[in-house]
Amino acid sequence: MDALMETLMGNVDWLEIGWASWDTLVMVGMSLLFSVLIGLPIGVLLFLFGKRQLLEQPVAYAVLSFVVNVLRSVPFIILLIVMIPFTVLLIGTSLGVAGAIPPLVAGGAPFFARLVETSLREVDRGIIEATQAMGANVRQIILGALLPEALPGIIAGITVTAITLVSYAAMSGVIGGGGLGDLAIRFGYQRFQTDVMVITVALLVIFVQVLQMVGDRLVLYFSRK
């Protein structure tokens, strides 16, 4: 049995895999947190400034929308490289777990903002009208009606963003980002250690599956339908 494991997975250092998994968790967790913190208000503003919405502002909408589109249209692998000077300025290094987080947020936040905008647009206009008719101001409409009503959509958006960030985090291994992606590139790709590659990919698959499952459960719980 041991001999079989040795031939099949001779290159696998389980401690290293464990640390890399933890690093991926930290990168995804931290970048998801900041993506949501930054993306949610941007998404709400995009919605409010949109055509025939509460605070219709064509110019502000165009500017915000343009910035979001630019960040979203740069392929993530390029964004990783373009962001390096900015990342160094922000946290002193562009390497490792910490160095990967700013580009991950730059990729995740605008993505999430669009998902928030879409789920807010899906809230029935009648709900906004009814809340206005009760004498609510814009802040009350957003916090009291729009966000609670859009919550299932927003949670689904967080799930999609988290999964996107898992793949982005793996990609950051290319520029020395750390985590499972880094392991896969350094050992699986550059040293032809197929067993390491298989294990890292399997772990990433499991990670994504768990995220999707938890997300779906939460959406179902908050849907109240």
């Binding site: 009648g126 009760m134 009291g144 009606a145 609670p148």
Partner: protein
Amino acid sequence: MIVFDQVQKSYQVAGRAIPALHPTSMTIETGEVFGIVGHSGAGKSTLVRLINLLEPATGGRILIDDEDITRYSAAELRAFRRKVGMIFQHFNLLSSKTVADNVAFPMKLAGIYSKAEIRGRVEELLARVSLSEHANKYPSQLSGGQKQRVGIARALACRPTILLCDEATSALDPQTTQSVLKLLGDINKELGLTIVLITHEMDVVRRVCDRVAVMDAGRVVEMGPVSDVFLHPRHPTTRDFVFESENIDRNDLQEDLQKAEGRILRLTFKGESTYKPLLGSVARESGVDFSILSGRIDHIKDTPYGQLTLSLVGGDLDVAMQALEAADVHVEVVR
């Protein structure tokens, strides 16, 4: 009292002003149930939304209890809206909140009620609309009629003086419509609330309204007490609505009339005379034979009424008509 003084509303579409409501003046009295009937696109939805300025007016003055609400600041307008409840065709309940939280929502937004006050008021309102046992359910677990009752409880939460109903029964089946209309009528009587109700069904107007305005293409074309407008419609649009509500096909009616012999009269009676055995005695006195071509006995709100179309043959027609008019029957000679 709600007073419209030359109020108008137009929308800017591709640089042109499209009128939704032509300059309109009218008065809705405190405590009455006022119906606005019209086809979709006639402007009734716009009219009702002008009363709480969900649609800003583009001209004229809207006076509510002698205050011009078109001059209100944003904060004043929000405070005013708390005194105007509104219910909707599709209920517009928050699916993320329970029944009790939906009813509590306007009170929470107002920010002037204590938690205990809100809890007490919600209990009282849910009991009023017979939904106490559903307090902790979510709207998706309720039937249409129950949802609308939650809507009514929510609209009453801040003790409004005006209740606006936007096609409130249009998404409900006939039986549920009846119970919701009865609830609205009861609320109007108990609380002395002014109700403004828009609908495309004349039947809804007939059941609960005191007065009605008929709208067509952005204008009020006819207005008055429901019995007058309903029994003696003048404008073609009003006639269409009345015929529609009575399920009368105009072509069929014309055919029937052509086949009938003699004079054709339409008799309208209201109130107590509805139940009097009038036709038999009139026929005996005047020697006129009659046959009934169409007829209906029903209620306008609480007043019974009847409307019969008769063909009369032989005898003394003048005596018959005099006897009918003497008995407080409105006689219209159709042919």
